[in-house]
Subunit: 398 residues, 2 copies
């Protein structure tokens, strides 16, 4: 018989991050195909950033010691043009945001604080050396690593890749992720189910989650609730980089998935986590491939993917240090729970405001309620009551 530990939410996350390592190889893509991919090498600055001292404002480049005062304007320095002159005592150069600081100047005064009379500029306030410009190399020195292997590429990373001229980008391959829904009650999504049947929504929802997390989803045929039906499909799924099963992992006598995996020589790291939705949850490895046995109720499937399987997928795909963006918001209504589990009930964050309202739901099968939510609460297992106005942890949908 299997003896597999029950873990807390935090222990289960830690276990996954300890077990899984990068499982794909690198390839090269164009910068415009790089978003959502994971960088496969450290990348360094090709020159100092900024390469020369750079004005942060439109205004006048001056010698701070001359101010307040009336200065002679000896020229102008627009962005993108080399300014060859030098600012001497009593002199100023009109300068634009992004332009190179002229030699001799040690401060920029914002145009809003100046007035021009003929060839002179009048500045009534003092300035300090260093005002309103950025020193050469202040953001990065030539050769310094500015993007590290394992970074997920978003818009800011694209900006940096473009800045340093990385028009092609080394990225990790997308982990091939097999999705295997199990259960005699499932019919295809284009079928009309009998009242005791449901359409196979989990496979399609998981495919969307896998793609969003950087994986390549492959939906396998539904596995019926027999060892004979499930075994060849599980074997096929184990040929991928990751196998996600849904259903078949609770204490019910038709839940034969764990038995099949055991016969295939699986190592089980945990098979129950003290959370809701999603308490029965299996994580293990068989034939060199990690697998998750996610509970079959739709909310449980989706929540446990986000909390656990997503981190495994991200690490397999080369990402370093995946995290959950758990923050805080104020409850608009009181909230109660039975203590003992970390619960993730659906909730709705206010528009542009750190307020959160629990969404009424009838439990882990209630998909309409999940669609009315844009976040999940993350409860403290030791508490049973939060009054309205109290802070509570939240995890926005991603």
């Amino acid at each position: 018989m299997l003896v597999v530990p029950t873990l807390t939410f935090e222990q289960a996350r830690a276990c996954i991050l300890e077990q899984v390592t990068c499982g794909t190889t690198a390839e090269t893509v164009s910068i415009d195909d790089a978003p959502a991919r994971v960088l496969a090498q450290d990348l360094a600055a090709d020159r100092d950033y900024p390469p020369l001292p750079r004005s942060a404002r439109d205004g006048f480049a001056v010698r701070a010691a001359d101010l307040p005062g009336r200065l002679r304007v000896i020229g102008e320095a627009p962005a993108g043009v080399h300014f060859a002159g030098t600012v001497g005592p009593g002199e100023a150069v009109e300068i634009m945001t992004g332009a190179q600081m002229p030699a001799g100047a040690d401060a920029v005064v914002m145009v809003e604080h100046t007035s021009v009379e003929g060839e002179e500029v009048i500045i009534d306030r003092s300035a300090a050396a260093g005002d309103n410009f950025t020193e050469a190399g202040a953001e990065a020195a030539a050769g310094e690593v500015v993007l590290t292997r394992g970074s997920r590429i978003g818009a800011t990373e694209v900006a940096l890749l473009a800045t340093i001229g990385a028009t092609t980008v080394p990225v990790y391959g997308r982990p091939r992720t097999a999705i295997l829904a199990t259960g005699d009650e499932l019919v295809a999504i284009d079928a009309f189910p009998d009242p005791w049947q449901i359409r196979n929504s989990n496979a399609h929802a998981l495919a969307a989650q896998v793609a969003r997390a950087g994986g390549c989803p492959q939906i396998l045929p539904v596995a019926r609730d027999t060892v004979e039906a499930a075994t060849p499909l599980i074997e096929r799924g184990l040929e991928s980089d990751l196998l996600l099963l849904s259903g078949g992992v609770s204490a019910g006598k038709y839940d034969i998935i764990e038995r099949v995996l055991d016969r295939l020589g699986a190592e089980f790291f945990f098979d129950r986590v003290l959370i809701q939705p999603g308490q029965p949850l299996v994580f293990g490895r068989a034939r060199g491939t990690f697998f998750f046995g996610l509970p079959g109720n739709p909310a449980s499937t989706m929540v446990t993917f986000e909390l656990f399987a997503r981190a495994a997928l991200e690490v397999l795909g080369g990402q370093v240090g995946p995290t959950l963006p758990i923050t805080l918001a104020r409850l608009t209504h009181e909230f109660r729970q039975r203590p003992g589990l970390t619960r993730f009930p659906p909730a709705r964050l206010g528009a542009d405001r750190p307020e959160v309202t629990p969404v009424r739901w009838s439990g882990s099968g209630d998909v309409p309620a999940l669609c009315r939510a844009n976040a999940f609460l993350v409860t403290d297992p030791e508490r049973d009551y939060w009054p309205a106005g109290e802070l509570i942890r939240v995890l926005p949908k991603r």
Copy 2:
């Protein structure tokens, strides 16, 4: 001369949401291509959910009035199979999660709280009618709208589409979004710039942001700082559903973009917002197309896109009520600012915890600092100091 208002952060968001309306037409895609698209019709449940009372647990379906007690097991109800019998007094049916409740039963007792002896099950605790099952129609009634027009489709929406058998999905088209970077200092990203030049990173970063927000980006050639060069490119951009300009909108004398737009008959809704980064920021409409003049410093460009242009793009693409997921976190270090502006400095959220650390940066040109961040602080313009441990608003990168 133009007279255009300066707005607060909140006023500028409200102005955009008031002006912009859906600007694209509907098309039909397969459910597996629906993620990240916007639903173009209300969709209703095809039957009651659940269609019959459904067990939420593995265990035994019972008559609550019989407990505690010893009950005769008259059969089993696995998921996906029609159970035709009726539970009479002193009887129970073994039941699986997701299975239809047998007639006569009014509660489910979890298997963990039962023991079986031969053909009987012994249950030492009492139960209440309604325990551990979901009533027919509790989640949605047949014909009830379960997904509303204007919803952005994520994994939970895919689950609901699949559940109700929506294998093809009516969605709005992606807004065509022209991206026009301006400035004499810009060179192509595959060129090697002189020390006073920079690569055109903004166009590529904006393209990534536009795609992420559901738009179709089109990068136009760089507009040089003359009316003659900028005019035809701006005219071309105005043929799209939305035009994003970067650079050319501050008080500098080469910032000719506003003048060109004015000559093209533009209406300006605001041209300055009390935020940092990104104070100079133009929002208007010309020739029927909305445009944003985003400031040219990379951090300003990206932050103002996220705060303002993204909402416009989302609404143009049919999304109803776009919001910013602003929540709270505890500062690990003290934070100071000059009051007067809502500031969005880069910051790093802790792993799985509501803690946030400001990232050191040298201002709106500092792209490496943005890449070390995974969030932005959202400061209160009236404050100048937050001690370590204090709550502050945060906006995770998306």
